[in-house]
Subunit: 372 residues, 2 copies
């Protein structure tokens, strides 16, 4: 059972967000419902609607939640609610006008990436001089460094995903549709503690060459290479794991060669992880192995992404991202090679940065498993 976050945990996160905003040159942070609001307050409305809810964080001011009157009782029930000042508004009132005086004289704010255009444009129209910057650009590290309880949850999510992988190797692949194996994977993730399944990619044969193929009607056949990429949330924290398996023992030479290459790339990038190394260094480490192996043009995505209360979040392991790694950061390392019309190979673990290197939160073998 995960340790429960307390109102004081949330208060600490909100204080830190406000302080980091000031250090970065912003007056504060504006947060609408979504992963940032969950992380900062524990509050997740029943549904995302057109009625504006917005958390306003400013250093030296109490955190304020502008919230539809109708939804105030639900918000009051959130764990972080005791440290919030509530500013309810009712239908017929303009919520942007309600928000304006709460922003103070400085008007450069960081805003949650997923805040709706409706609200962003409503505020820009109403608050003269307002300048907004997405949180990803303004404070890319805000949620990146995990505290020990968060790390425990991410490790538990990884362990659940590992257990699901162990069991999926025992199901029938040949003769079944991708969607059937995907359903098995989803059920296994739930069996192993996930309350939410975000994706269960089963990319067999040529479908594996489409990195974001989910799962389709294709019937898996003996001789297929199959990419399995699965993840979701366990106790509110994410898993995201990929392994590439083979149906039957007769593995084509090129499949074997590409799998070895991707495996080496994953291992090389993992070994590059330590504090002070930049995000782009991790991408470069993986990419160099694949490029040197002659498959660089077929590695068509970045090497990784952060993970926490969502399965995809900043910072990204991509050329041009110069943020340095810090102990407690958690992200994916997932190089891949995709040969159009033929097959794909990807291997992905979640790793966390330690004081002197990295630690994997996934611990199943990188060998290409043979399935039936």
């Amino acid at each position: 059972m995960a340790v429960q976050f307390t109102a004081e945990d949330y208060a600490g996160r909100m204080r830190r967000a406000a302080a980091e905003a000031v250090q970065a040159g912003y007056a504060g942070v504006l947060v609408t419902p979504g992963p940032d609001l969950v992380w900062l307050t524990g509050y997740q409305p029943t549904a995302l609607t057109e009625r504006m809810t917005m958390l306003i964080l400013r250093e030296g001011e109490p955190p304020r939640l502008v919230v539809p009157k109708l939804e105030e009782p639900d918000a009051q029930a959130a764990t972080g609610a005791p440290v919030l000042e509530f500013v309810p508004w009712t239908d017929g009132i303009d919520p942007y006008t309600v928000t304006r005086p709460l922003l103070g004289p400085q008007t450069a704010y960081a805003v949650a990436d997923s805040a709706w255009a409706l609200h962003v444009l409503g505020l820009l129209r109403t608050v003269s001089g307002l300048r907004l910057t997405p949180l990803t650009d303004a404070l890319p590290m805000l949620r990146a460094v995990k505290d020990p309880h968060e790390l425990d949850r991410l490790a538990a999510a990884g362990a659940g995903a590992d257990a699901a992988y162990g069991q999926i190797l025992g199901v029938a692949f040949a003769g079944r549709k991708e969607t059937e194996v995907a359903a098995d994977l989803a059920a296994l993730l739930r069996e192993h503690g996930h309350e939410q399944v975000d994706f269960t990619v089963v990319g067999s044969g040529p479908n594996g060459a489409n990195p974001h193929h989910e799962a389709g009607d294709r019937t898996i056949a003996t001789g297929d290479t199959v990419v399995l990429d699965f993840g979701g949330l366990r106790d509110g924290y994410g898993s995201d794991t990929t392994r590439t398996v083979h149906v039957g023992p007769d593995v084509d030479d090129e499949v074997r060669r590409v799998h070895d290459l991707v495996r080496t790339a994953q291992q090389t990038a993992f070994e590059a992880v330590r504090p002070g190394v930049t995000c782009q260094d991790i991408d470069r480490a993986a990419r160099k192995v694949i490029t040197d192996g002659g498959y660089g043009e077929y590695f068509i995505h970045r090497t990784g992404h952060g993970i926490g209360v969502t399965t995809h979040e900043p910072p990204y392991m991509i050329e041009g991202e110069r943020l340095p790694l810090v102990p407690g950061m958690c992200f994916s390392i997932e190089p891949g090679v995709y040969l159009p019309g033929r097959f794909g190979v990807r291997i992905e673990d979640i790793v966390t940065v330690t004081e002197d290197g990295g630690r994997r939160l996934n611990n199943t073998s990188h060998d290409m498993a043979i399935v039936a």
Copy 2:
């Protein structure tokens, strides 16, 4: 089985959106994944992510979909794809720079309400002179008037919700938690064809006085008034229905009086529905009944909202909304009275505007049902 929409259906919607944008003074429409994109193209990505997908609609130009290269194959599989021109972008490329030349010389665009701040601000930063207006404000009627196949789906969703209501009256209420009855309601909606359940409100006793209370740990008791508000999607179109029931036959006089009043308000607003009447007239019709009955201050929300590919959408039945009703529009009429700490009453049907009046898409009785 619902009639399937075709590529030509989607092409027609996209042409109409582009034409209406020009009529309203915009260069076109920008649409990110969400209900507008589903309605316009049939395309719904597996997940909403930080990687930008954006549909650009301009009169006289082919509809263009800027899409992450990784997700292009999935987008290509959408029903509306044959009429789209694809503009893929790869990791490391700036999608806003890719989008800029596609916008043309005029730079006033309507944008989907739920487009992420990340993308809205990215475009505003990149495209000089760009002016964005949320679709709700720019083209509030875009999805409001339903075609006959859409009406069929909404009617089928309403019929499914009605069937679920009929059966929920037979389950035990007294002695069970709200969450248990809510789970029954969700199962019944699925049993009656809903592929997605959006909400199952069970507000018993004082919880009924919180209009957006979902369902909690409270154990329902004999003598409770219980608000049941439930809906979701069936074949991609929404249901949203509310009835207020009573546990046991001994109904308090004030509960009876308030229920009669809300019922009359609902009926009065329904009878006001006809082409040319404004949205605010519907709100006023319901509100006058409740105000005249002495409970005006306890009717704390607007009277209704549009419904279609989402369960909440414009236009809204609220004071100040002067849009006239048009045949084919579908919306909720849901007056309520909420007495803090005591009980609440709400009655809600979905209605559609006909050539000379209104037609209900929910057809169960408005009598206060007695449950056990």
